[in-house]
Symmetry: C2
Subunit: 218 residues, 2 copies
Amino acid sequence: MRIGFLGGTGIEGKGLALRFAASGGSVVLGSRSEERAQAAAREYNELLGSPLIRGMVNREMLAASEIVFLTVPYEHAVPAIESCRSDFSNGQILVDVTVPMVFREGRAEYVEQEAGSNAELLAKYVPKHVPLVAAFKTIPAHILAEREIELNCDIFVCGDIKEAREKVMEAARMIPTLRPLDAGLLRMARTLERMTVLAVNLNRRYKKKGARFRIEGF
Amino acid sequence: MRIGFLGGTGIEGKGLALRFAASGGSVVLGSRSEERAQAAAREYNELLGSPLIRGMVNREMLAASEIVFLTVPYEHAVPAIESCRSDFSNGQILVDVTVPMVFREGRAEYVEQEAGSNAELLAKYVPKHVPLVAAFKTIPAHILAEREIELNCDIFVCGDIKEAREKVMEAARMIPTLRPLDAGLLRMARTLERMTVLAVNLNRRYKKKGARFRIEGF
């Protein structure tokens, strides 16, 4: 599977890129700067011990990818989409993993969104022919990035186009011990984004790092 | 521990009442009608095989309870509190387990609350000297009520008074294989209420019944 990362040089995309590449995915990091994309690719390839990941400018990354992960801090998500709106192609799927969250008085807080969730806000900016899927929101970036951690958890995939959700779930199944679950329409992102804040606060309160969700009884 | 149920004759309270009573809690079902409360107590005691649960009018139940579970359908929660506002005593804790949810087009939907969550709405009606805690929201009533099911999951406890959260967690620990986690301030109920809708929809989509949450990495 050809997997791209829009804004793929930060912590948000690192773990996913590493895990997809290690699982046989064809991974391309995109950036506004080709140099930065290639530097990140080199760094990740060293961790992988093999030149599996390539770096490109976002436009080229988009031309090379079936599934594109939007992996920028939440407040940069709209400009990131706008900057390459015309470069998306038909059939491509955009996956939003962002969580609008701030830290205040020692705890994480959800940044309430007028659209209901950041995913629903982004839906207003994504080209009509590109299905938007929200996924991987509830699993912290640093856990994905620590590849020695067995994930052993569920992720929740939502979006208004069933086939797009299924494609993203197929991609997620490439990653060992990670189970994707179909959470339905895009507005379920309201729940998923908030769950991340819960997990972060549980980590802080209990002095742990790895809080993530599993559905029991399944 | 003396545990009361405000509106304790419906499915919302049944499982909790049975499980607390079976675990040694002193359980009182409250209702507007003493007759109905006693009938429910008789029914539950038959299931328990022992006369552990009592039924009383809400006023008497309140006089007998340290922790009071508000176990009515969400849209009856405000009138239920208003009907016995003056009967709460100092030091008593009210636990809100309600989830504002409707079914539409074959799926569960969260009923958006102007206050943010039903728990935050109720906070406006609860007497100032009674700490309000939101808990047990993410575990479906029917799973609690099927006592042969090992819960093997986490519940999340939130509320603005730490001591009240701790007391409710202490109560929750009476129930085997259930782990209470401190989720912080009452506004985290926005997350917990929505998580229930996610669980219900996962059940429907995957034709299961028991979806409930566990935190992995803890």
